[in-house]
């Protein structure tokens, strides 16, 4: 009798302990520990998760975490000859089928057929999952690929990991229903009606095309398999326009009000002349993807995850000027560079990029002096001459607007002028005013494909905007929106039926190079968030309507 009582007590204590552990594991802290282990390779005690590849090759979790291969959303990846399968909760704890069998079974089910294609492996249980993570043998006895590390995990950490995987990408992200996909775009109140229209017209076309597919969906000639898959694209798409007004400090609250009213899956594009920082921060905090907004003032970050930018904007031009200077004075350390910076977001972004790249070359760089101009302080020829006399630089970098050209045009003809660097985007399209005598001294950062090479992309934006633009797309707003839509559609195709925001970002990150309007290349890579990595240094030729001559490669080091 006592023995039975003891057994009951032990069982009760054991189940109580299980309940305690389970409830602890369900807590937000426990989830974060799992997230840290999965993404950063750190165990619950803060030490590195250790795994072994091919028996004795140590894979330190802090440099080679689960999310490296299986991606942040757990939906897996294919790289070279290695397929890293889906390991999110919805996949692990169900039998795994070949993709074709999964489709076949789904179609059969809809027809009422019971005979199912066999599974590659049964659903994992906590025990079999622990066994495969430690020993690399799955429930069918098959050994995992050698590239998958076998992990040393104690029971406590294993429980954290298993519960994290159970909850990873377990339910679709907000903004998705069985029949609809809701997105938003953002327009701030400093944007002109023409610029606003240049972006919105392309997005409206996307919605129109999506609406046209409603008819196609009803046509019987599409096989059921494809009809099922087509829902990835043929859900009804709607794009809300979130208008942001007033002080950028209030944008966060405005964005939240819009989001609370109707959650969205992602933000497509968006446009502002002001720094993108408040919107970037909102997207990070709410974990909402924001794809390729029209901004030349993006956030420069190594850790930002949710916003994809077309480029680093002004920052990238500044970087390019510094790299060009660094490489040209590499063997001539000690030469003097003067940087004149207008105190505007544009000037400061250019200077920030310049400083970042200037400091890369510790060995050979020259000396740098920086002069800051007030937002409204005039830069005219006498002021420029005075600065040159005072600093006697070998090169001068001027990060200012269209006043730069008139200041330069008034400079007297002299042979000892320094090399002068300016930003094409900040200065604007006024280069024809540069006198011929100055042109061999002037170097311009030019972040786009050169006009003669761009001709083959003519007409792209006209298609999407359907002739709705009353003015030419001089600011490349419609073309950049076109590129965003192109990449977004590729991402949606790759997403298949996995409507997780992190997956959309993951699959875009694995796209091959894209050759689209404006930039030489949009290139991607896991975790990379600035697609165009290049910028030319150009000079003007001596003709009356000066043409641009390349003086550098697209990417400089």
């Amino acid at each position: 009798m006592m023995r039975i009582l003891l057994c009951i007590l032990v069982c009760f204590a054991a189940s109580l302990a299980t309940i305690c552990v389970a409830s602890a594991a369900d807590s937000p802290d426990q989830y974060r520990l799992g997230e840290r282990m999965y993404r950063d390779g750190l165990l619950s005690d803060g030490t590195a998760l250790k795994g072994y590849v091919r028996g004795d090759l140590e894979a330190d979790g802090t440099i080679f975490s689960c999310s490296n291969c299986h991606t942040r959303s757990g939906l897996g990846s294919v790289e070279g000859q290695v397929t890293s399968p889906q390991i999110n909760g919805a996949s692990l704890f169900k039998p795994r089928y070949l993709f074709k069998d999964q489709i076949k079974n789904t179609v059969s089910k809809s027809k009422g057929v019971i005979r199912k294609a066999p599974a590659l492996r049964p659903a994992y249980t906590e025990e079999t999952l622990a066994a495969v993570l430690r020993g690399g043998i799955d429930p069918t006895g098959r050994e995992l690929a050698p590239v998958m590390p076998r992990y040393n995990l104690n029971d406590k950490d294993m429980r954290i990991m298993v519960e994290y995987l159970q909850n990873l990408s377990a339910v679709f992200s907000p903004g998705v229903t069985d029949t609809s996909l809701t997105f938003a775009t953002i327009v701030t109140d400093d944007v002109s009606p023409e610029d606003r229209q240049a972006m919105l017209a392309s997005l409206e076309t996307l919605v129109t095309i999506n609406q046209q597919t409603k008819t196609q969906r009803k046509q019987p000639q599409f096989a059921k398999m494809f009809r099922m898959l087509d829902t990835a694209f043929f859900r009804n798409i709607s794009i809300n326009t979130w208008e942001l007004k007033g002080d950028p400090a209030t944008w966060n609250a405005q964005l939240d009000a819009y989001y609370q009213k109707e959650p969205v899956f992602a933000i497509l594009g968006g446009i502002s002349n002001k720094p993108w920082q408040p919107i970037h921060d909102y997207c990070e905090s709410r974990q909402i993807p924001c794809l390729f907004p029209i901004t030349d003032l993006p956030v420069i970050s190594n850790t930002g995850w949710y916003t994809y930018y077309a480029s680093k904007g002004y920052f990238q031009e500044g970087e390019t000027a510094a790299r060009f200077l660094n490489s040209s004075i590499r063997d001539n350390a000690g030469k003097k560079v003067l940087q004149i910076v207008r105190s505007t977001p544009q000037g400061e972004a250019l200077a920030s990029g310049f400083a970042s790249a200037w400091n890369e070359n510790e060995a050979g760089r020259g000396t740098l002096a920086t002069i800051n101009l007030g937002k409204d302080q005039k830069l005219d020829t006498p002021a420029l001459q005075q600065l040159l006399l005072q600093h006697t630089p070998d090169s001068v970098v001027i990060w200012s607007g269209d006043d730069t050209i008139s200041a330069l045009a008034g400079m007297p003809s002299q042979s000892n002028l320094p090399q002068i660097f300016v930003s094409s985007r900040y200065v604007g399209k006024t280069f024809a005013a540069i006198p011929e005598r100055m042109r061999d001294k002037l170097f311009i950062t030019y972040p786009f494909r050169l006009p003669e090479d761009e001709k083959k992309f003519k007409g792209y934006n006209e298609f999407l905007t359907l002739g709705k633009l009353k003015q030419p797309d001089k600011k490349r707003i419609a073309t950049r929106t076109f590129s965003m839509i192109h990449i977004f559609l590729q991402g949606m195709k790759e997403l298949k039926l996995d409507y997780y925001r992190d997956t959309l970002l993951d699959v875009i990150g694995m796209r091959p190079d894209q050759y689209l309007p404006d930039f030489e290349r949009y290139s991607f890579g896991p975790g990379q968030r600035y697609a165009s990595k290049g910028c030319y240094i150009v000079q003007l030729d001596q003709s009356q309507t000066p043409q641009l001559i390349k003086r550098s490669d697209w990417v400089l080091f």
């Binding site: 490296n68 995992l144 087509d230 091959p512 990595k533």
Partner: protein
């Protein structure tokens, strides 16, 4: 008129994608052992840039009496490169204070993103010791190097595990396809004259 084409071809793309996915599910992973061959290569006359921003004439990597080991990786790579780099880390650990007895070279296959700064951070993350250099360069020069070693891939996301070992003064390279264990890598390096 790229967009309508995209829309029209959507079903074809899905079919192709489905087939590719099925095939990839069958292949599943790289072989469990590695394949070793001896190959003769001619080094191209290009200049690359290392993690310190210094220009390195590529042919100069042969100007040493040490074994030279070379692989192709990129800074944000998720699957193959971390394993290859873990191999370099393991080898340096096994060599202890003599880490410079072998010249380890990683060549970027994502040169547009792999600036000296990115490469330096990568080496720091892997706690690389002296003797391990990461090289980048213009896309054209990197393609030339890949082709010279019969390792060209047009898309970095489809690269594979390849390690090339050059024993001092030898006229041939040891080409290793696949992933070596730590002890196999050390053994191959010893055979190459460590």
């Amino acid at each position: 008129m790229m967009l309508p084409t995209l829309v029209k071809n959507f079903r074809v793309a899905l079919l192709v994608q489905t087939l590719v996915f099925c095939l990839s599910s069958y292949t599943y992973a790289e072989p469990a052992t590695y394949k070793r061959t001896l190959e003769k290569y001619t080094l191209p006359d290009v200049t690359l840039i290392n993690q310190d921003g210094k220009r390195v004439p590529f042919k100069s990597i042969m100007d040493s009496n040490k074994p030279v080991i070379l692989d192709f990786i990129f800074g944000t790579c998720t699957t193959i490169c971390p394993v290859l780099s873990a191999g370099y880390v393991g080898l340096q650990q096994k060599m202890g204070e003599n880490s410079t007895g072998v010249h380890l070279i990683s060549i970027s296959i994502d040169p547009e993103n792999d600036s000296p700064k990115v490469m330096k951070e990568y080496l720091k993350r892997y706690r690389a010791k002296p003797g391990w250099d990461f090289l980048t360069g213009s896309r054209k020069d990197i393609d030339t190097v890949m082709r010279a070693f019969n390792a060209y891939i047009p898309n970095k996301m489809s690269h594979y595990a390849l390690t090339l070992i050059h024993p001092p003064k030898a006229d041939k390279w040891i080409r290793i396809y696949g992933i070596m264990s730590s002890s196999e890598f050390f053994s191959e390096t010893k055979k190459a004259g460590l």
